[in-house]
Symmetry: C2
DNA sequence: TTGAAAGCGCTAACAT
DNA sequence: ATGTTAGCGCTTTCAA
């Protein structure tokens, strides 16, 4: 059982007002950094606030008609829970929280992680409920919600601002993403520089537009580098390990197999490595492998995986900034254009010179 | 820029009342499952609620004096952010969210992850601010907060119920933990059954009481199994990789080194393996290694790591249940006693028969 | 079983 | 520059 002492009554704005000897409004003004408060009054109020340990109630603030100081991060329920359960070290959500929570905290905001079912017919109900219950000042959309028409429509209808991480479609809200097209291209360039001519590609779940984007980036870079453009070098996966196994089987069983493979996720890269090991194909001597995401596992594979790092924390931090200060420099900087956050290619031991 | 249509006015309890033709009270009663509502009225109200897509505002509910439907998960700021930044795959927070968010969702609650600085003198300020701003119905404490006197005092003074994951000290709040003492013992038994007689132990950060607990479990099991009790087989770490390196150096440089080492964290077990590899000590043939936590990395080490799985998701789920239904069966079940959630020893390739 | 009234803590709009 | 008023949407009294 929980032991409880008689709870001390909460200190409210009234207590502060009484203490300082001014009206509630003056306190409120100081709290909200409104103009029209004398320096002297402001000082006295701030002193009293600190001394009494007063913090305004979010609920009351909302009721009074101001901001809610809440941001909602919308993630796909099934995928998120599945990843948590699988314990494969995918830390997308962690990176999101890292960028989101720290940025929110700097502005007195809280981030609430909300899991909603993308495919459910009831997405309107789930989302509507969350919006009605919490009345957040903004919503951060993550893939695959970022391009979900239903979600965007609801948010627009409810008048809730949104930032769309990894979004593509021209629509409402602010888009924040990395350049997936260029990232795939960078992979090709890295491999081309190492002398590879036949480069395989394992695409991701086509439900995610970034899959398409990466594939296009691969194709364009292959063409630009004058390498062999051969559709049999392209296999489709769904980001998961199992799909990577299948794709690798196909690619590595070709008459003229690729000397390098770019996988659209670390998990699929891992699968490629497993199949290669199975076939006694040495890495990186006979086969170079590149992954996407740079999850923790990339560091512990043998050989360690060369991978594209998605700037998830930075994207989420940007998203929070845009929502918290819609008129701030950061938000205005993009002026309707997508915010493109730089990615990185971390070169490790899984890529090397082409054989022969 | 965010495009916004004219936001539709929120549907409130008034709208529902007007629609059904009853008073606000009746709606409120139905929503809160209070008695004294005729079946017919209840039915009509529920229909209207569904049809209008009404969800009560949390803020307004709080203001009205009811529960806030918010639970706060208090984590150590520095350690959490450090782990997120390091990207080593430690998924403690993820497992906590898995158990916490899903359980909260089942009851219409939300979980807010709040990072506070344990060592800061200002912990009272930070925590007080969060409590005042959010007025949560309960707080979930995670190590090392779970035994923090200051934190417990503040919560008690504010009359906020708390569940203490991994807590030990007799104090306020409900304790939910695994049996660390028994877990360390189980490791020893597993190794003893494999014929090991000299078993080393790398302790964790002494700031965490569970470190002490595991060490004691190790000692007791060594004695119970009649194995060599030798304090030089015990090294102190702090859960981190670097400290594991140091500890392993010491243990593996002994005149008579252990044939098996139990590390109080996976990271330290990883370090032990690195040092062993450095010294060309074969695993598991010449050295068996066991870790604690069973983080994702345990699966990808070579050899794969035998480890104790902390039931973090289950503990957090239990914590949420206890706080949400303080008078429910689950909470009453423990009746003031700690809730002890079962752990598991997952045997992988890093443990084998003792040499010779 | 139902309804009416009061108030939670705050802010926006309007005085002064 | 400051104070006053009204009201946000709900729940808890209390009365019928």
């Amino acid at each position: 059982m929980t032991t409880r002492a008689r709870p001390r009554r909460k200190v409210t704005i009234k207590d502060v007002a009484a203490d300082v000897g001014v009206s509630l409004q003056t306190i409120s003004r100081v709290l909200n950094k409104s103009p029209n408060v004398s320096a002297k009054a402001r000082e006295k109020v701030e002193e009293a606030v600190a001394r009494l340990g007063y913090s305004p109630s979010l609920a009351a603030r909302r009721m009074g008609g101001s901001k809610s100081f809440l941001l909602l991060a919308l993630n796909d329920r099934d995928r998120t829970i599945e990843q948590w359960r699988a314990r494969e070290g995918i830390d997308w959500v962690d990176q999101m929280l890292l960028g989101g929570i720290t940025t929110c905290a700097e502005h007195g905001y809280r981030l609430i992680l909300e899991l909603v079912d993308t495919h459910s017919d009831n997405i309107a109900g789930e989302l509507g409920n969350a919006l009605a219950a919490l009345r957040p000042d903004g919503v951060i959309l993550t893939p695959p919600h970022s391009d979900n028409r239903k979600v965007l429509d609801i948010l627009e209808r409810e008048g809730v601002a949104c930032a769309r991480i990894g979004g593509f479609d021209q629509a409402s809200g602010t888009i924040i993403r990395m350049d997936d097209h260029a990232a795939a291209g960078r992979c090709v360039e890295h491999l081309a520089a190492l002398g590879h001519r036949r480069i395989g590609f394992v695409a991701g779940d086509p439900e995610y537009q970034l899959s398409t984007e990466r594939l296009a980036g691969y194709r364009d870079a292959i063409a630009a580098a004058g390498l062999e453009a051969d559709d049999s070098l392209i296999a489709e996966g769904d980001f998961g390990y199992a799909s990577g196994l299948k794709a690798a089987e196909v690619l590595l069983s070709l008459d003229r197999p690729p000397t390098a493979i770019i996988a659209s996720s670390d998990q699929m890269a891992l699968a490629v490595m497993a199949v290669a090991r199975d076939k006694a194909i040495a890495m990186p001597d006979q086969l170079s492998v590149i992954g996407f995401d740079d999850t923790p596992i990339a560091r512990t594979t043998t050989p360690a995986l060369t991978a594209i790092s998605q700037p998830v924390a930075a994207m989420t931090a940007r998203a929070a900034e845009v929502l918290i200060q819609p008129d701030g420099d950061v938000a205005r900087g993009a002026n309707g254009q997508p915010h493109v956050i730089p990615f990185e290619l971390t070169v490790r031991a899984s890529t090397g010179p082409a054989p022969r």
